[in-house]
Amino acid sequence: MVDAQRHVLSVRDLVVDFVQDTGTTRALDGVSLDLHAGRVLGVVGESGCGKSLTARAILRLVDRPGRIVSGQVLLDPGAPRQQELTALDPKGEAVRAVRGGRIGLIFQEPMSALSMHYTIGNQIIEAIRAHGGLGKAAARDRAIALLNEVGIPRPETRIDAYPFQLSGGLRQRVGIALALAADPEILIADEPTTALDVTTQAQILALLRRLQRTKAMALMLITHDMGVIAQMADDVAVMYLGKVVEFAPVQQLFAAPRHPYTRALLRSVPNIRAVPRERLATIGGAVPHPESRPTGCAFHPRCPEVIAGRCAIEMPPSLLPDQEGASCFHAAVGA
C-alpha cells in the first residue's frame, strides 16, 4: 500500500555530526525515510533522538557546529527533475526556493517563524510573492484566502494585525498559513502543538489533517506525543538516539510494536483510562546523551530483552526506508 503512492522526498543514510572541541558527537546515525504524497509520516521519539534534527537536515538548516557528514536528501527521487538537497549550498538560492516553496515548515513556537515588527499580512504576502509571481493586490487576496482557510475569523481585518496581538492558537494558524503560502507539496511540522493547550491542540491537529487531505500533501509530523501520532499519522518512524529503530503503519505499530523500545514507550504513556493510582510500566534509566552513545544497539542498556554478549557489541541491522520492521535482533527474524 505504501508503494502505491508517489515518493516526493527521500532521505537516505543521513549522518549528522556535531564537531566540538570536546569531541565529535554523532547526532544522526544513518536515517532513511520516505515521504509520500497524501500521506502523513509521524516521527516520534524522546529528547535527543534526532527527530527535529532530521527535519532541519532535510531543509539544510543544520547550524554549526553541526555538519551533514554523509547521506542524501532527494526531492522528487527518480523523477527527471530530481534534486539533491544535500548537494546544494545551504545558503544558496536553490535551497531557499525549496524551503518555504516546495517544502512548507511549521514550528513548535510560531513566533520563531514570524517577525514581531511586521503585520502577519506583510509576512504572508511576502512569502506568497517570493515563491509565485503574483502582484501586490492578488497576493493580498490570496493571503486573506489563506487566513480564511486556516480558520482565522475575520481574515480581512486580522491580516493587518501584528503577531503579538494574537493568541497562541491563532498564531499557530498564521504559522500554518505562512507555511502554505507557496502551495507546498510537502509540509514538515516540528512539534506543532507542543506549546499549545489541549483544546487548542485538538483544533490545530484537525486543521492540519484537513489541509493535508484536501491538498494531498505529504506531511512529516514530528512529535514526542504518542497520542498525536495515533490520531494523525499513517506511517510511523520511531527514533532513538539518532536512528530509526522501528517503522510501521500506525495501526500495526500500536497493535503489535516490534521494537522493545516502542513497546516500552507505549506502555509508559499515562493512560486517560487508567485505574486510579495505577502504576505505569517504566523504562529503566534515561535517554543517554548522544555524546556517550552506548556501543552496539544504543538501547541495550535500558532494554528488558537485551541479548547478553550480542546487543552490546553488534549493531542490529538498519531499517530500509518504507520497510516495516524494527532495528532489533529479536524483530529482524520475524520481519
Binding site: 497520542g227 514507550l265 493512560n271 486517560i272 486510579p276 523504562i283
Partner: protein, 332 residues
C-alpha cells in the same frame, strides 16, 4: 481529617501602565476558589494555561499573598491555622509542613550547591544537627532511588529525571504534611515521566502524604489523583472523584478537555469532537459563565448569570446551570 481547606480564595494582579506605573485595571487570576484536601489524599488541579491553577498553588505556598479568602491548614491533627493573613516572618516556622515540587528540574536546583547540601538545606534551616542531617540525606537519597554517591555531586551531573528525584528528596526532607507539586512531570521525557509518577505514588503510599497536584495532562492526572478539580478562567468549574469525573463529567468544559486529549489509540480516530473557540482572556472574561461562548450546551441564562459551584451528585460538584439535565460524554 482534612489537611487543607481553601475558602473563597481570590488573587488579582494589578495591570500597571504609564510612566508612574499607575494601576489601570486588575487581572482576576483566581476567583472564589474553594476546595479541601483530606489526609493522604491527592487532589489534582487541572486546566489550560492561564486558568489560575499555578496561582492557586503559589498562594497556598504563600509564595504569593492572596487578595482575599482563607487558607486553613492543619500541620498536626487538632491545630488549624489560616495561612492567608500571615506575615513572611510568622510563616517561616510553618514552611516545613508544606513543601513544593517544581516543574523545571533545571531551574529548581541551585547549580552552585552539591546535591547533599541542596537536600540538607531545609534540615539546616530547621536547625537539625550535622550528623543527623547526613543520616537523613542518605535516607532520602535511597528513598527517591538515587545512589549515596550523589550527595557529593553537583546538579549538572544529573539528567532531568534524576534532578526531579533530588527535588522530591528536598521536598520530603522535613516530613511535610502537604506537598504541592506544580507540573512535576511535564518537563520530562515520556519514559522518565513514568518513573517519576510511580515514585510519587509509591512515596505517597509509604509516607501518607497529602498532595496538591497541579497539572495539565489529563492522562497523568488520572494515574495520580484521588479527586480532580477543573479550573477555567480563574474559577473551579468541577470537582469530583477521579473515576467519576473522567467517566461522567458534569461540566461541558471537562467534557471538552477529555474529548481534546489525543488518545494513544489509532482506532479511536475521527470520532473526536473538536472543541471550538479560544480560552477566554482572564483580564476580560465573558459575562455569565466564562465558558458559554465555547459551550455547545449554552442557553440564555449562561450568558448572564454566573453559575455557582454546587453538589450535583454525592461528591460531585459542578458550576454549570444545566449540570443535572445534561448527560456529558466522558472516557470509559
Amino acid at each position: 481529617m482534612t489537611v487543607l481547606t481553601v475558602d473563597r480564595l481570590s488573587k488579582s494582579f494589578p495591570i500597571k501602565s504609564g510612566l508612574l506605573q499607575r494601576e489601570t485595571g486588575r487581572v482576576r487570576a483566581v476567583q472564589d476558589v474553594s476546595f479541601s484536601i483530606a489526609h493522604g489524599e491527592t487532589l489534582a488541579l487541572v486546566g489550560e494555561s492561564g486558568c489560575g491553577k499555578t496561582t492557586v498553588a503559589r498562594c497556598i505556598l504563600r509564595a504569593l499573598p492572596p487578595t482575599s479568602g482563607a487558607i486553613h491548614f492543619s500541620p498536626q491533627p487538632g491545630t488549624t491555622i489560616d495561612l492567608a493573613p500571615l506575615s513572611r516572618k510568622s510563616l517561616r516556622p510553618l514552611r516545613r509542613h508544606i513543601q513544593m515540587i517544581f516543574q523545571d528540574p533545571y531551574a529548581s536546583l541551585n547549580p552552585r550547591m552539591m546535591v547533599g547540601d541542596i537536600i540538607a538545606e531545609p534540615l539546616l534551616v530547621a536547625g537539625v544537627p550535622a550528623t543527623q542531617r547526613l543520616a537523613r540525606v542518605r535516607e532520602l537519597l535511597e528513598l527517591v532511588g538515587l545512589p549515596p554517591a550523589a550527595r557529593t555531586r553537583f546538579p549538572h551531573a544529573f539528567s532531568g529525571g534524576q534532578r526531579q528525584r533530588i527535588g522530591i528528596a528536598r521536598a520530603l526532607a522535613l516530613d511535610p504534611t502537604l506537598v504541592v507539586a506544580d507540573e512535576p512531570v511535564s518537563a520530562l521525557d515520556v519514559s522518565v515521566q513514568a518513573q517519576i509518577i510511580n515514585l510519587l505514588l509509591e512515596l505517597q503510599d509509604r509516607l501518607g502524604l497529602s498532595m496538591l497536584f497541579v497539572a495539565h495532562d489529563l492522562g497523568v492526572v488520572r494515574h495520580v489523583s484521588d479527586r480532580v478539580a477543573v479550573m477555567y478562567v480563574g474559577r473551579i468549574v468541577e470537582v469530583a472523584p477521579t473515576t467519576s469525573l473522567y467517566g461522567r463529567p458534569r461540566h461541558p468544559y471537562t467534557e471538552a478537555l477529555l474529548a481534546a486529549v489525543p488518545k494513544a489509540d489509532p482506532t479511536l480516530r475521527d470520532g473526536a469532537v473538536v472543541p471550538r473557540g479560544e480560552v477566554a482572556d482572564p483580564a476580560n472574561p465573558p459575562p455569565g459563565c466564562a465558558f458559554h461562548p465555547r459551550c455547545p450546551h449554552a442557553v440564555d441564562r449562561c450568558r448572564v448569570e454566573l453559575p455557582a459551584l454546587r453538589e450535583v451528585a454525592p461528591g460531585n460538584f459542578s458550576a454549570c446551570h444545566r449540570a443535572e439535565e445534561l448527560r456529558l460524554a466522558g472516557v470509559v
